[in-house]
């Protein structure tokens, strides 16, 4: 029997009120974002605090940690509206999507109580320390070393090594880092890595910005020199990080941010083609809309199935594979379709130029297309 299945799930109608509230908030608080192509990547402390005050960060988390105990479908509505408005979410989005859920699952009580409420208030920025100069997609080749140290009362770990391509490290209050605590074993090359919570304000951390091809300075090299991490900052079991993939991973792969990264291009295309596009423009536009609608229906379905306690692991990986390829190609398709439009096209050209410049990273960040297709092949029983 076929391994692929999508439940027919639609966002419940009662979420329309939430959607209107989000749109109203965005019109008020981020009015220029949609017309400023790079707005999405901005770290805006004031904006993130306002989002936190609305209860839209950590929406699904328990109330005792500042969360809203709301459903993943409610979070879905907020996430997609923020993406479509191109709102500046860089400060809080990583913590909201990934880091918070990891802390919820693996951190001790005192850490959860001190950090999670700050995330939900939009005051706490996280980065993710995975890649290293010698290990990217092959996470389990990480070498940055964590050595046990004991100085009287303070027992913990000493970190030495380098992480790279770390987005937002220059803004982050914390990193969740993957460090080597022992050597891999013969039987299991994934053994020996441990997740740590890193307080980025501690001595022993140097953050060096790396300029990217769009001229932005979003990612960094992070060098650790005898950084001390206390014992209670170990997340989960020592040496066992490989076992700690959680269901959050499926949310992370299948969310609306996996196909809406360049969405401003589509809106700009509709504007530049005008009310009566030629047949070529109309046909091309129709295909793009059909493809986007399909991606969104896949994504909503996966999120609904997760919310219902199912495990659409294969479907979630497919959303990211098909979605990132689509958003990467979008600026180029739009450029072709608008090729013969004359007259005012300045805004369109600017949006396309920006999107085309960030497009190459979309199939690399957070797991490359090749890694994803390997995961899908495993889901098909080929590995």
């Amino acid at each position: 029997m076929s391994p692929i299945h999508f439940d027919q799930i639609r966002l419940p109608r009662e979420l329309q009120a939430l959607r209107e509230e989000v749109r109203e908030f965005l019109r008020r608080e981020a009015p220029g974002a949609a017309s400023a192509p790079s707005s999405r990547a901005e770290y805006n402390a004031e904006f993130s605090r306002k989002v936190g005050a609305k209860g839209w960060i950590g929406m699904t988390w328990p109330r005792r940690y500042g969360g809203g105990e709301r459903s993943f479908l409610e979070r879905y509505v907020v996430t997609e509206e923020f993406r479509v408005a191109n709102a500046p979410v860089a400060l809080h989005f990583t913590a909201d999507r990934q880091s918070g859920p990891i802390l919820l699952k693996y951190a001790g009580e005192p850490l959860k109580q001190s950090i999670l409420p700050r995330i939900t208030r939009g005051e706490c920025c996280f980065c993710i320390g995975m890649s290293e100069p010698g290990s990217g997609s092959d996470l389990f080749a990480a070498k940055t070393k964590a050595t046990r140290v004991k100085n009287g009362a303070s027992s913990g770990w000493k970190i030495n090594g380098t992480k790279i391509w770390t987005s937002g490290a220059h803004h982050a209050n914390y990193m969740i880092g993957l460090f080597r605590t022992s050597a891999p074993t013969k039987e299991n090359r994934r053994h020996g890595l441990t997740q740590f919570l890193v307080d980025m304000s501690r001595p022993g951390i140097k953050v060096n910005p790396i300029e990217d091809m769009s001229g932005g300075k979003h990612f960094n090299e992070v060098v650790f020199e005898d950084l001390f991490i206390p014992d209670d900052h170990v997340l989960g079991d020592v040496d066992m990080a490989w076992k700690q993939a959680t269901s959050e991973l499926a949310y992370e792969r299948s969310g609306p941010e996996r196909f809406l990264e360049t969405i401003q291009v589509l809106f700009a295309l509709v504007r530049v083609l005008g009310e009566k596009p030629d047949l070529r423009g109309a046909e091309g536009l129709g295909r793009l809309v059909a493809q986007l609608h399909t991606l969104r229906r896949m994504s909503v379905s996966v999120n609904g199935m997760l919310q219902a306690g199912k495990e659409p692991v294969l479907e979630g990986s497919i959303v990211k594979d098909v979605g990132t390829i689509w958003e990467q190609a979008l600026p180029h398709r739009a450029r072709e379709l608008a090729a013969f439009v004359e007259g005012s096209r300045k805004e369109f050209d600017a949006v396309v130029r920006h999107a085309a410049t960030i497009a190459p990273k979309l199939t690399i960040q957070g797991g490359t297309t090749e890694v994803l297709r390997g995961i899908i092949a495993r889901g098909l029983g080929l590995r």
Binding site: M1, Q8, G286, V289, A290, E315, G374, L380
Partner: protein, 279 residues
């Protein structure tokens, strides 16, 4: 009520099981492929008729099975898995249309003009073909994966090669898109009060996206199967040929795309996201 699948689960499973059993017994694509004549046709159609499947969308008081729209689409998806060239889709649609117009439904297999301009008929037809194509793609994926696991080349199953794995992952992606798009369009027809703009967006999108999936999907399925898949003897061509026929019925993806694009352009950029988000 998109959340209430309970009726669908109980009654729907019975109908799905019956459909699958009939096609497995009397419409197996491999058996049909090797048959030298058309003698399989009559028994298959009779079994479908006896089970009430050919009148799924005709209400019970009109002598039909009175199945729901969703159940009918499930019958059609399963028929797609077998890629059999019987007019089941046409007969379901025609029965639905006769009953809608309060007319008596004739017996036997029925026909529908595949290039009809009747709005509701065209939408039903496109949604039906999209669903059958999605079913066919599911089967092509299953068959391709199974073949890649058993066929040995260079001293190992070809499914062990990364290049083949990645092709199959793409086929899975196209199949997933087809299932999601066709399923969503069927659900829209089942739940919307009329053939409105929402149904148009859903059905147009399904016919376009599934048609695109058919092109990529069939190419990969053939690539994985190699020369044997191109032979008359192998069953794969039955799927490929059904896809090529079905994607042209009730409007090709190009025709639907031109209509959908014109519609989106007419409504303007600011109306696009709200229309998508409402689905």
């Amino acid at each position: 009520m998109p959340w209430d699948n309970s009726r669908m689960n109980i009654a729907g499973n019975l109908i799905a099981d019956a459909t699958r059993r009939i096609f497995r017994d009397l419409g197996d694509p491999q058996a049909l492929n090797l048959a030298r004549d058309e003698s399989w046709r009559a028994p298959l159609w009779r079994a479908l008729e006896d089970a009430g499947l050919t009148r799924a969308w005709v209400p019970e008081n009109h002598g039909g099975a009175g199945a729901s729209i969703a159940e009918g689409f499930e019958i059609l998806r399963i028929s797609g898995e077998f890629a059999v060239a019987v007019p089941l889709g046409e007969t379901l649609i025609a029965g639905w249309a006769f009953a809608r117009d309060g007319k008596k439904v004739p017996s036997g297999p029925l026909e529908v003009d595949l290039s009809t301009k009747d709005n509701a008929l065209q939408l039903m037809g496109a949604a039906v073909r999209a669903m059958q194509m999605a079913g066919a793609l599911q089967s092509m994926l299953d068959r391709s994966v199974a073949y890649a696991k058993e066929r040995v080349a260079f001293e190992r199953p070809i499914g062990g090669f990364q290049a083949v794995q990645h092709n199959l992952a793409r086929l899975a992606g196209e199949t997933a898109a087809a299932l999601a798009a066709a399923g969503s369009a069927a659900d829209a027809i089942a739940t919307e009060p009329e053939f409105n703009d929402a149904v148009f967006l859903e059905v147009a999108s399904a016919k376009i996206r599934v048609g695109e999936a058919a092109e990529t999907g069939a190419a990969i399925a053939h690539q994985v199967h190699g020369a044997i898949g191109f032979s008359r003897e192998h069953v794969l061509h039955r799927y490929t040929q059904r896809l090529w026929a079905w994607r042209d019925d009730f409007g090709s993806e190009s025709q639907w795309a031109a209509r959908l694009g014109a519609h989106v352009a007419r409504n303007g950029a600011d109306a696009l996201w709200p229309a998508l988000a409402a689905r």
